[in-house]
């Protein structure tokens, strides 16, 4: 009886085994499901991870290394004073629904994003635009109110992809773009399927079909990879299992960098935390390597300021706040806060939940008690981020080049420093690369000296893929799973 059952199960299993041949399909795992598929009206990284460069394209696009390359704009001219950008659009580009891509679509897209009723999550990207004009069918002229060094960079974001007025209404559920893949269907809660766009203007991708599967549970993700249900998991949620994948010849572990500076934010409105000595004490109490090892199983780079280590302008300031519990205790004694209790709010990601537990233990060592509250994102956004009702929280700031947040006094950690604000204002006006570097160094030092928050580590991008797949992005300059260069080697 048992024997027969086994045979039955084996037969069932065989049905599920795909045929061995050169594969042109891929199943990509993602932790979160995109709430919708319109990156111009939602902030979720998952939207970009499905659509960026696969379905939608912008005037410019990011390369895997974070460089800004031509996208739908073949080339551009910039006026002397840096306020007028003239984009020369590619010819013969069609949207997936067959409508032609023209300068009008660009005007429509940029105007829509700037509109009063716009629901673009990154509206500030477009803040510098004064007007947009279609010069002819394939030329667009964008006038800025003031020069902006990062404008081409901004136009490469997922929030700035070009949509056509004919299909924009339905893009949330039936995305229509100009990319190398067409949307096939979305089984909500399970997967999004794409297929190769035969009319693509550029080089045809190697893959014919791509499926994004949404697996939020880390152990389910592990099982899915192990069982071969998923071919690649570019942002694998369980770093503790990577060791096993490394040891397994079937898999390749891809470790790269992200723009995510992970910090222990402090609320400067809190009486104790407004004292720099307390902030320094906290910074010294923290052993970054323990957090990286304990929470991320070794993946991550310690940082001493709010800047990505892979950026050429990065300064290694970790020694400023080296692990020194004795110094921390002294600083606390000096500040008169020997028994301090702080609330620590933790959003869902592993780095926060596990890191929070370790930080709590480390703070306890120097005499700071913490009350941990685990929160969902929605509640975290409302209470911590918008309401600034917190003492400590851990979060990874994943936007690229976002040191500017320290110049925003209303930002959730409530840090109001005239000096920092001046530095950033100057930076905005400056286009000379060397001067910019100098200013960025100054900013990095300033926030590190001020111990505005406790800087923990740069989030690593840890992906797992079938060893026969090549062309996946190693790093994540922006959230994206660009599949155009992905292929099977066997």
């Amino acid at each position: 009886m048992l024997g027969r059952l086994k045979i039955g199960l084996a037969v069932l299993a065989m049905v599920a085994t795909p045929a061995l041949a050169q594969r042109t399909d891929i199943s990509v795992g993602m932790v979160l499901e995109p709430p919708n598929l319109d990156p111009t009206s939602g902030a979720a990284a998952a939207i970009r991870e499905v659509t960026y460069s696969n379905i939608y394209e912008g005037l410019t696009r990011f390369g895997p290394d974070g460089s800004v390359n031509p996208g739908l704009a073949e080339s551009w001219d910039i006026s002397e004073d840096g306020t007028v950008y003239t984009f020369h659009l590619r010819d013969g580009v069609e949207f997936h629904d067959g409508t032609a891509f023209t300068a009008d679509d660009v005007v429509f897209t940029l105007d829509r994003a700037r509109d009063e009723d716009s629901t673009n999550a990154q509206k500030q990207l477009f803040a510098a635009i004064d007007s947009v004009r279609a010069v002819d069918e394939h030329t667009v002229e964008v006038t800025l109110s003031q020069p902006q060094g990062a404008f081409l960079f901004n136009m490469a974001w997922g929030d700035a992809v070009i949509m056509s007025p004919e299909s924009v209404e339905d893009n949330a559920t039936n995305p229509v773009g100009t990319g190398a893949f067409r949307f096939v269907r979305w089984v909500q809660g399970d997967r999004v399927e794409l297929e190769r766009n035969p009319d693509y203007w550029g080089e045809a991708p190697a893959l014919e079909r791509a499926t994004f599967r949404f697996i939020s549970d880390p152990s389910a993700a592990f099982a899915a990879m192990m069982a071969g249900d998923v071919d690649a998991f570019p942002n694998f949620p369980a770093p503790e299992t990577l060791e096993q994948f490394e040891a397994d010849p079937r898999f390749e572990v891809i470790v790269g960098s992200t723009e995510g500076e992970t910090i222990l934010s402090m609320n400067h409105e809190n009486e104790a935390l407004s004292d720099i000595r307390v902030r320094q004490a906290i910074s010294h109490a923290i052993n970054r390597q323990d957090i990286i090892d304990g929470a991320m199983f070794g993946y991550g780079t310690p940082i001493g300021t709010h800047f990505a280590p892979h950026n050429p302008d990065y300064l290694d300031l970790t020694d400023n706040s080296a692990y020194d519990p004795e110094a921390a205790r002294e600083l606390l004694a000096e500040a008169g806060h020997e028994d301090l209790t702080l609330r620590l709010m933790l959003p869902p990601p592993t780095y926060a939940r596990r890191g929070g537990e370790i930080i709590a233990a480390q703070l306890r060592d120097v005499g700071i008690e913490t009350e941990i509250t685990n929160m969902e994102w929605a509640q975290w956004l409302e209470q911590v981020f918008s309401g600034a009702d917190f003492d400590l929280t851990i979060v990874s700031h994943t936007e690229p080049m976002d040191i500017g947040i320290y110049a925003r006094p209303d930002y959730y950690f409530q840090y109001d420093s005239a000096e920092m604000q001046e530095i950033m204002e100057e930076l905005d006006m400056t286009s000379d690369p060397e001067a910019r570097t100098e200013l960025l160094h100054e900013a990095q030092r300033h926030i590190a000296d001020d111990s505005v928050v406790a800087f923990l580590f740069q989030l690593a991008k840890t992906g797992v893929a079938n060893a026969d797949i090549e062309g996946l992005w190693e790093n994540a300059p922006v959230p994206a799973n660009d599949l155009t260069g992905v292929r099977w080697t066997e």
């Binding site: 629901t119 909500q188 152990s219 099982a223 069982a227 956004l381």
Partner: protein, 315 residues
């Protein structure tokens, strides 16, 4: 019988109305704004306000309640805030997973529990009975998510007989989906089967103690004939109640199991919707689940009446 049905139907409707109010007003106080969630950390306040207008969240609580209830009567549950598709579509798609999973688990559980419970009852006091009872105690004590974890470890990762999860969709064929649902169904069914087997056993034992069983034996029926012809049908009534309860438990209780096996079912929909503060989806799914429970209870009541002639005339 008709009057019985109508009476139950009235109390069913009242229950549903009360339930809808409880659901709506409890869920609406959950902190967190769907618009803010969707727009993330860099969004500007006026952008959030614009999105709230877009979603109709700027209207009063009571107005939205009436709109929601009013729509539900016609099968329109509104539009999901995050997915931007009709909630009814979402629910129908998810039911396509949850319902088969529930039925599958229920069938498995019944197929295991009936013979096991009957054998234990027929051999009560024997070593076999003691073994079965011990086994069912173990089954009840097993947290299903832990059991699911072990199943995946063994059958998916080590043996690779079953995929670790996921659901291909019904258009991919019947068997491949049945295969995909097998491990989750087993994880759900085993603890339930243990409960059901125990209920079955005690119901049969209790029935076997009734006078009419002695009457049947005095007529010359063998003990097996007595069990089959007389005990079984009478014992079925308490068993049916449990099956009814299990149906609703399984329909909603799959949340964790659906997570472990990343199945796109109702449970995961609701979990995800709560995180995203897609409250209209949460409210509608809870309503559907409550409705399912009440409906199943109603059907079980009707089945009672069919199984037991004494109930047909009772008020």
């Amino acid at each position: 019988m008709l009057r019985f049905a109508l009476q139950r139907l009235t109390s069913l409707t009242i229950s549903l109305i009360v339930a809808s109010m409880v659901i709506f007003f409890v869920i609406e106080v959950i902190p967190g704004d769907p618009a803010a969630y969707m727009l993330g950390m860099n969004a500007q306040p006026e952008t959030v306000a614009a999105l709230r207008r877009d979603l109709g969240l700027d209207q009063g609580l009571f107005v939205r309640y009436l709109a929601w209830v009013g729509g539900m009567v016609t099968g329109d549950f509104g539009t999901s805030y995050t997915y931007r598709v009709p909630v009814s579509e979402l629910i129908m798609a998810r039911l396509g997973v949850s319902l088969p999973l529930t039925v599958y688990a229920l069938v498995l559980s019944t197929l295991i529990a009936f013979p096991v419970g009957l054998i234990a009852a027929a051999r009560r006091g024997s070593a076999l009975d003691a073994g079965i009872m011990g086994g069912t105690q173990l089954g009840i004590a097993l947290p299903n998510f832990w059991f699911a974890m072990l199943l995946v470890l063994f059958f998916s990762i080590t043996l690779q007989w079953f995929s670790a999860g996921g659901f291909p969709g019904w258009d991919a064929g019947f068997w491949i989906n049945i295969q995909a649902l097998t491990l989750p169904a087993v994880a759900l069914a085993l603890p339930q089967a243990s409960i059901l087997a125990r209920v079955m056993r005690s119901a049969v034992i209790e029935t076997l103690g009734q006078d009419y069983i002695r009457t049947a034996r005095a007529k010359g029926l063998t003990s097996r004939q007595t069990v089959v012809r007389h005990a079984l049908r009478n014992a079925l009534i308490p068993v049916l109640t449990i099956i009814g309860l299990q149906f609703s438990f399984l329909l909603a209780g799959g949340i964790i199991i659906e997570n472990v096996f990343f199945l796109p079912g109702l449970g995961r929909l609701i979990f995800q919707a709560i995180t995203q503060r897609d409250l209209i989806v949460v409210e509608s799914v809870v309503m559907i689940l409550v409705f399912a429970v009440i409906l199943v209870t109603f059907l079980v009541d009707l089945t009672y009446a069919a199984a037991d002639p004494r109930l047909r005339r009772r008020a």
